[in-house]
């Protein structure tokens, strides 16, 4: 994939913003906010402390979902890898969750969970669990048979096998799954926040923008959401690279 240089990227972005401006001008109503109007709102948001509190609240929910989702995914992924019975038992569950649309979960969860604020978290967990689970399972299966039997014949204790053989083998898959999950979790959480009109959430800002017909706010917040998403994923990649020194030796 060809890398886009900074200067190039800037010009390309400028092009699209100008195009957007044209469209807004042609529409000439408040439904399509212009880049300038959106920019003004954006600047206002960025200079307000409240914005950051809101972003952190939503981020916190996403983080929680990820931690729990990864924990569950790894746990069940490994067990299912080791034990075929568990694996077979989980097949319909995982398939069902994967096939169900996000909004179905959101609506159902809001009906049954008392504290609305938890719904986005549960939603996020439901969404990233199958991804992590499947990847860990696959990673486990992919551990070299040769190395496994070598460990067996040398009677290497289980703990060491897990730490030095299985975990490093599965890590690349886990990391790939995590990166994917971050994006999905982020979007699902915000959607749930919007539907549930959760206090102190990014979703609420979008909801308010819609209700008060402040579409420049909707656009501005959307841009913020995208920026956050990019930052999180970049951050995650850096973190992963730090941990995953084994990446060099694995050919996926």
């Amino acid at each position: 994939m060809k890398q886009i240089k900074l200067g190039e990227g800037f010009l390309i972005l400028l092009f699209w913003i100008l195009l957007w401006g044209l469209v807004a001008q042609a529409a000439n109503n408040f439904i399509v906010p212009s880049p300038l109007e959106t920019g003004k709102v954006l600047v206002g948001l960025l200079s307000s402390a409240e914005t950051y509190i809101i972003i952190l609240s939503s981020l916190w929910r996403v983080l929680l979902s990820l931690i729990i989702g990864i924990g569950l995914g790894v746990f069940f992924g490994i067990i299912a890898g080791v034990n075929t019975f568990v694996y077979k038992l989980l097949v319909p569950v995982v398939n069902f969750i994967t096939a169900t649309p996000v909004v179905s979960f959101i609506i159902i969860l809001f009906m049954y969970i008392q504290n609305d604020a938890y719904v986005p978290v549960v939603c996020g967990i439901l969404l990233c669990f199958p991804i992590i689970y499947n990847n860990v399972l696959h990673g486990y299966k992919m551990v070299s048979d040769e190395l496994v039997s070598m460990s067996q014949v040398y009677r290497v204790p289980l703990m060491r096998r897990i730490m030095k053989l299985y975990v490093p083998s599965t890590l690349p898959y886990l990391f790939a799954a995590t990166l994917t999950s971050i994006g999905i979790c982020w979007k699902a959480t915000i959607a749930a926040e919007l539907i549930g009109i959760i206090n102190n959430s990014i979703g609420l800002q979008l909801y308010n923008g819609k209700v008060f017909l402040e579409y420049d706010h909707v656009f501005a917040w959307t841009i913020l959401i995208v920026l956050c998403s990019v930052c999180i994923q970049k951050g995650a990649r850096v973190l992963i690279n730090k941990i995953n020194i084994y990446e060099r030796f694995k050919v996926i």
Binding site: M150, Q152, Y154, V156, K164, F249
Partner: protein, 215 residues
């Protein structure tokens, strides 16, 4: 030790049928046979990797095994020393561990590479690490499965010389499986040719041990 009436099938395919062979303590036994005849399977059963077979293995139960595979089977993200540590840890006090590992890396002449990763080593070097690993592990029996498979002639020569000296120093029972006559005769006290498809019998081609024992 005795392999008594060993039988092994993969489904309907019989690979070993009622095979009996005595193995003497401390001897270097080479089992000859063409590729794919089942000799690797035999070795796997002896090592304990394959637990489903008919017949008995007498005298093998409490023996510690070291195994040299056809492929070097090194963990890619561990260095040479770490690969040895992976199997050795726990078999001796930690304070002795590094010295022990160092000694054996020296024996296979890979001193300069003890902190290198397998992907920087050549095929021959990787196999040397595998040998270091096998010999450094406290063992009663050393099993080798066509260890020089796929290496070129010069390399084979080198490694065979190395293996010879290692075996001499080791003084433990060695069972090696190969299809190469030269290897077998050079390294083995006893050379036995596996007969039959499935393997049912053997033919003694060389037997130094008889002479040793003075039979």
């Amino acid at each position: 030790m005795k392999i008594s009436k060993l039988s092994k099938s993969f489904g309907s395919l019989e690979v070993i049928k009622e095979f009996t062979l005595e193995v003497l303590d401390g001897q270097v036994l080479c089992l000859l046979g063409p590729s794919g005849c089942g000799k690797s399977t035999l070795l796997k059963i002896l090592s304990g990797l394959d637990q489903s077979y008919g017949g008995q293995l007498i005298g093998f139960e409490d023996k510690r095994m070291s195994y040299v595979f056809q492929e070097s089977r090194l963990i890619p993200w561990l260095t040479v020393s770490e690969n040895l540590k992976y199997v050795l840890e726990g078999h001796m006090p930690d304070s002795e561990l590094d010295g022990h590992i160092h000694r054996f890396i020296e024996k296979v002449e890979l001193n300069d590479f003890k902190d290198s990763y397998p992907n920087t080593l050549s095929g021959g070097m990787k196999q040397r690490v595998s040998l270091a690993r096998a010999f450094s592990m406290p063992h009663d029996i050393l099993l080798l499965d066509e260890p020089f498979q796929g290496l070129n002639i010069e390399l084979k020569e080198q490694l065979m010389g190395l293996l010879e000296s290692l075996i001499k120093q080791d003084e433990k029972t060695v069972i090696m499986v190969t299809h190469d006559l030269d290897e077998a005769f050079r390294l083995g006290d006893s050379v036995v040719k596996l007969l039959g498809y499935p393997i049912t019998d053997f033919q003694v081609l060389k037997d130094k041990t008889r002479e040793k024992v003075g039979n």
